[in-house]
């Protein structure tokens, strides 16, 4: 095995980047990419599983639901005041509030998850994160393999620029 290193290829077109990713992965490189938009062909080429962020968001929404129920029922029972002859625990109006709280807490959890996901992604793919964010080109970083092989694959796939990176 040759020198371990990381090779960066910059692509102008998502099609080329996708080709490179597929080829690199076939050659058992570890691939990181950075791109200005989530180009579906690149994402597909990466073949990663779907994000597990949904579970976090879903539990956030559940928490919101619980909080909503506790808030509405709890505060009404804590000091029961009759209004309009309606029961102390009036389900239909409480459902509305519970729904809103569910959406609110769910959304905020989702926000927290996406921010955390961004931090996590930047940490895991430090090289691509550091070098790739140019806004107008797609960066593909190959590592854990033969650097020159990677460079070749990248060039063949149509990279405008290929260089070794630390």
């Amino acid at each position: 095995m040759a020198v371990e290193g990381r090779v960066l290829g910059m692509f102008a077109e998502p099609g080329g980047a996708a080709r490179a990713v597929r080829a690199l992965r076939a050659a058992h490189f570890e691939v990181e990419t950075a791109m200005p938009a989530p180009f579906p062909e690149v994402i597909a080429a990466l073949g990663k599983p779907r994000s597990g962020l949904g579970a976090v968001t879903f539990s956030g929404a559940l928490l919101g639901l619980l909080a909503g129920v506790l808030l509405t029922v709890g505060t009404s029972v804590a000091w029961p005041l009759v209004t309009g002859g309606k029961p102390i625990v009036s389900v239909p109006p409480f459902v509305i509030v519970v729904f809103e709280v569910t959406v609110l807490v769910g959304s905020l959890t989702n926000l927290a998850a996406v921010v955390a996901g961004a931090a996590l992604g930047a940490r895991r793919q430090a090289t691509a994160a550091r070098l790739g964010a140019t806004g107008d080109r797609i960066a593909v970083v190959a590592s854990a393999g033969d650097a020159s092989g990677a460079g070749r694959i990248l060039r063949e796939s149509g990279a405008e620029e290929v260089r070794d990176v630390a």
Partner: protein, 966 residues
Amino acid sequence: MSDPSQRPVGRRTFLQVAGAAGAASVAAGCSPRAAVQKLVPWIVPPDDVVPGQPLFYRTLCRECAAGCGVTARTREGRAVKLEGNPEDPIGRGALCARGQAALQALYHPERFKGPLRRGAGGALAPTSWDEAEDALAQALAAAQAKGPGRIRLLTRLEPGATGAVQRAFMKAVGARPEDRVVLEPLDPAPLRRASEALFGRAELPVLDLSAARSIVSFGADLVETWLSPVELARQLAAARGRLGAERARLTWVGPRLALTGVSADRWIRCRSGGELAVALGILRALVEPARGVPVPEELRAVVPRLQRLAPEELAARAGVPSGELERLARELARRRPSALLGPGAQAQGPEATQLAAVVLLANVALGNVGRTLRYGLDAREDVPSSAADLRALLGAMSAGEVDVLLVQHADPVGTLPTALHAADALAKVPLVASFALRPDATTARAHLVLPDHHTLESFGDAVARDGVVNLAQPVMTPLADTRQAMQVLLELGGKLPVPASFPSTDPYDVVLARAAEHATRATGAPPADVAPVHREALQRGGYWWDPEPRPPVRLRPGAAEPFLALPPPPAADGALDLVVFPTALRGDGRGADLPWLRDVPDALSSVSWSPWLEVSPATAARLGVGTGDLVSIETAAGRAEVPAYVFAGIRDDAVALPLGAEVLSVLPASAGAAFYWAARATVARAGRRTRLPLLEGSPYQHARELVPVVTAAAPSPRRPDLSARMYREPDHPEHRWAMVIDLDRCTGCQACVVACTAENNVPVMGADAAREGRYMGWIRVERYLGDEPGGELDVRLLLMLCQHCTNAPCEPVCPVYATYHTPEGLNAQIYNRCVGTRYCSNNCPYKVRTFNWRDARFERPLDLQLNPDVTVRSRGVMEKCTFCIQRIRYAENLARDEGRHVADGEIQPACAQTCPAQAITFGDAKDPASRVSRLARDGRAFRALEAVNAGPAITYLARVRPEAEP
């Protein structure tokens, strides 16, 4: 009962107490204000005052001539509320709107703070009592020396100690009896004169309408202003409370609907002045031999004379279909006893006397005299002077024959027709001394102002009639450096060149001296020591006894004839008849500057703060005016501009104007104290518009059946089926406070409205607020004139206040629980929690919530009247009727202290308490035996907007419409 002269609470300490108790409370935020507050103790605590606890005094109402007894509730030494005296035989615990508002005369911000003397510069300047009295005494001495007639006294009716002292004083200064002139604008003089002419006794009758089966009022507005409105409203309610055939029929005769007309079952819409023709027509029909009515012996002589009158001509003169008179006569013949009443309080002059006489003759014909109209009870303690006497006084003044004029609670400039030129006459008098409480048109021209105590600060008595003497006593120390007029007269007597031999200058002694006689008549024997007897009487409120019968009145032979001719018809000049009327709120105009009375909308026109001219829709169309357009009214005497109010309750050939300054400028000089109806005026559009402060939106029910009536054929209103329920009804473990309002008894007199305002610190926001639709009253009279515009006139009243609903729509929409349903069934409003979303009001089907659009101002010393048990609301919060929660809690506390349950009827909200007709009943709906529960099961029961299913706690009992008689 405390004698204020010995009560140690000085004015100073009173104010300190008031300050310490933190009288006015304001709902604001929740943090206690950082400002340092001082607590100032009493020097010596008064024995009977417990701070925070009410103390009640019995006294007297002097707002009109009826003389009702009053219970004044005081807190920390200040009067906060007036109520009727339940033991008083006249009011029986009720009080009218004007009586309720007497408190505001006490606390009026403009009240004189002390004696004033007109200085060289022409302005009134403060002086001392000694100086003022000395100056007056000197003038009196000088005038006395010139002979009789140089000193005159102009007073309101004073049927008691004050009147007696006035007479004694005038005698002491050498005046003749006629030098004391009694000015009572709403004096029913024609009744007295008719009785004098027919029976030889110038007396007013005492009425017992409760026995009558038919009542006909010829313009006598007996629920508003006539004779003794509180008593008559109660009697009328009793007479109509007997349902079925025994229920009394009330007929209103007049060109315009007054409140009595609203209560009436039938309105004979005669033309202005046509009442006489109606009365003659009825009298004529009654003595018709075919009628079957036994014509009394004494009337037989006039039958031929009467038969010479042509019924058709009478009907034509009255402006009514002739069949109507015939029908009324038939009814009267069948329904006996009856009572024929009239003319109204505003009617004066020979025509009015003739009408009174014809009405009296009809009463004689029907055998009512001695049954429903009782003569021989008029105590004649004081009698108003005639218009001629008044004119004589003004003439003497103008001629410079009067040197000193004492004016006691009479305002000749402000209450007499401008055409009488009272102001000019006054200007010719070198010394005018007024005892007025607050500035009026006469004090503006007076040289000395010797401010009297308010009745609530004075001792006195009033002989309402034989057997009824109500007593006045101070319920609080005087607010300002005032002196009771009676005392001033007594002191002046001592300063005369030949001092009068008055035993004491203390009004209390005068009343006590008179009390010996009252006590003797009340107990049948002269008391050994009158003082303790009198103390008891003060606690009770008066001396009341059954008077020994006097010989019955008999028609004098030949006395009737002069009244039986129809006077010549008035010239038909194309002008409109001008009807002048007093209202329940304004009375004779004396209290017209009291904020409560001005702010409460008139029950019929719903106008507040402004005069108005009632114009029928047809006439309005003809004149090209609408409600709010200014119209000019012109008579021979003068001209006035008043906004028009288009009102279906008036004939097309008449316009009507409430008593007030505008009336005075159009009254002819011949009108005397007030006015007879047959005046004519030219009415025209003035071309300008005003925004009339009007409560009414639409006066029609728009086919909504809001206020049903019941008849013999349909004895119960239609009610929706509300048995289906979405939720379980809330629990009311102990009580469910509820109210029943009997619309058959309600007359629309507005006493409840003013009582509520007084009890609950309801702010008066002024004319502009009223124009903007921001009247703050918690209870209002909704008056519907019919179903649709242009339809049949069908006046129905609906007393509208918070319904304290079980499923109150206002409650669940409040985001902060500022309003909720209490376990006792009240719809509570927590002012300090309210943020002012106003959704509750939007969602209230009854629109009984009022919002504080701006901070209320209680100008000093009106703030002393504020009820300390009720929070004063700040701007931005919603408020509404609480069923007088403070009274409920007071009674509950009392019951708890005494270890018992609250008794039925023990709790009375201010509105129910004061209702003269006892139309409002309050109590516990959970107790099936309570009065309110029993009444709510009545067949006439319905609830307002019942189909909304808000579950109101207020049940209305529908008005009864009698079936038409053949």
